[in-house]
Amino acid sequence: MEKPALFRGTGEGITMVLNPNAQFHEILEFLKGILEERKTFFSGGAVTVDPNGVPLGKSEINLVKELFQNFGVEFKLKGGIELHKKEELEAVPENKEAVVIQQTLRSGQCVNSQGNVVILGDVNEGAEINTTKNVYIFGIIRGIVNAGDHIVSLGFQPLRMTINGIQFDEKFVEKTYRKPRIAQVVNEKIVIKILGEKKSLRRK
């Protein structure tokens, strides 16, 4: 299997060339692994990232930037800042309560809203939802979701997920659910529970 990214030494220093066939989360995991493995080698240095056809939106760039910063590596993007533009969908709340997107949100698509957002499908990797209210997804989250209070979904495999600024930091889990689960902030951590979970008889 091809590596998600290749290292190249050039006159300008080290360049990381991304594999256009790789998923972004694979690339991120791979980069994390390399940086951990060769901490001392990279730390204090600078790495140029060549997207090489991989669509990188603002959020993805920030994720890579943050990752590098954590390891003390300076981040540069090849070819200036020519960001892949995210296609913004019409997101005017019809009834001031929720905007409903009747399809899977595809890579490159973005929903910015002031109200609740309902997606009748998945949120694919490379898609993004931003709202101060809540998000309800009839599918799986693989992309980026930033909400205000809670997120309901059938699967949580987000590239990045935040609620009211607090980030979801669980490892990638391949689980999907038949019934919806809700992600909420409990004691400053994002916790995923069964929606409408009832108390049992088991003594606590």
């Binding site: 038949r178 069964i194 009832k198 108390k199 049992s200 008889l201 088991r202 003594r203």
Partner: protein, 261 residues
């Protein structure tokens, strides 16, 4: 302050009374003080299952109507005579004779002096059911692996939600894992998937259950077979112990006899 748990199902004949008796006995064996209350007014059965029908002097309607005190109506179990008690139902009245407020007072009073009050609910969702769930804090819903039972249980769970019941768990009775595997009956996972409440016990189909009922003896007080173990495990889970569900599929083979369970 004890826990008042109603054992209900909607559907009749799924095993509420048998489970009330065996669960109550299992809790008593865990050193708890338990009262079993028969709320099937007019069709009492808990006394028969416990073999105490000859010992009944007063019943719950007598207490409700002021003819006696609670303690006078309580009957000690034949074997666990310091920890397991029965408050029998009346056989001559009907459910229309039940004063719900009085029943509520009685259950609350018993709760004050015992660790567990298990209320055996009648089938149905009418006045009898209402009176059984009054004063209960928690509910055990009993199903058998068939669609009728599950539909009724679903209805009951919905009703329980609206009546201030704080905790609900499920017991699957008369389970047959071989049949379930062959898709002849529903398996535990499918049942839990539909009903969406915590599963706290799986009791297997066992002809010995009826045998013991007919003898007026509680199974868990006489046997330590797999069925008895499932009742005991359920009691332990109610008490907070985390016990994984037994693999009931293990066939009795020559080698298994020497395996330590």
């Amino acid at each position: 302050m004890g826990r008042a748990i109603v054992i209900t199902s909607g559907k009749g004949g799924v095993g509420k009374t048998t489970i009330t008796a065996n669960l109550g006995a299992s809790l008593a064996k865990l050193k708890k003080k338990v009262v079993l209350v028969d709320m099937d007014i007019g069709l009492r059965n808990l006394d028969v299952v416990m073999g105490l029908e000859n010992k009944i002097v007063y019943n719950i309607i007598d207490v409700a109507e002021g003819r006696c005190k609670i303690v006078q109506a309580l009957i000690r179990d034949k074997h666990l005579n310091n920890s397991l008690f029965l408050l029998p139902a009346s056989q001559i009245h009907t459910k229309d004779d039940i004063d719900i407020d009085k029943i509520c007072e009685i259950i609350r009073a018993i709760k004050g002096s015992f660790d567990y009050v298990l209320v055996d609910s009648p089938a149905g969702i009418e006045h009898g059911f209402d009176s059984a769930i009054t004063a209960a804090d928690e509910a055990l819903v009993v199903v058998t692996p068939d669609v009728s039972s599950i539909r009724d249980a679903d209805r009951v769970i919905g009703l329980l939600e609206n009546r201030g019941i704080d905790g609900t768990s499920l017991i699957i009775n008369r389970h047959n894992p071989t049949f379930a595997k062959r898709k002849k009956i529903l398996d535990a996972e499918s049942i839990v998937d539909v009903l969406g409440i915590d599963l706290i016990g799986i009791i297997p189909e066992d002809p010995q259950v009826m045998e013991f009922t007919n003898k007026g003896e509680i199974l868990v007080l006489h046997k330590n077979n797999p069925t008895a173990k499932t009742f005991q495990n359920t009691a332990k889970r109610i008490e907070g112990e985390d016990i994984p569900f037994l693999d009931l599929k293990k066939k009795k083979s020559f080698f298994n006899l020497f395996k330590k369970k």
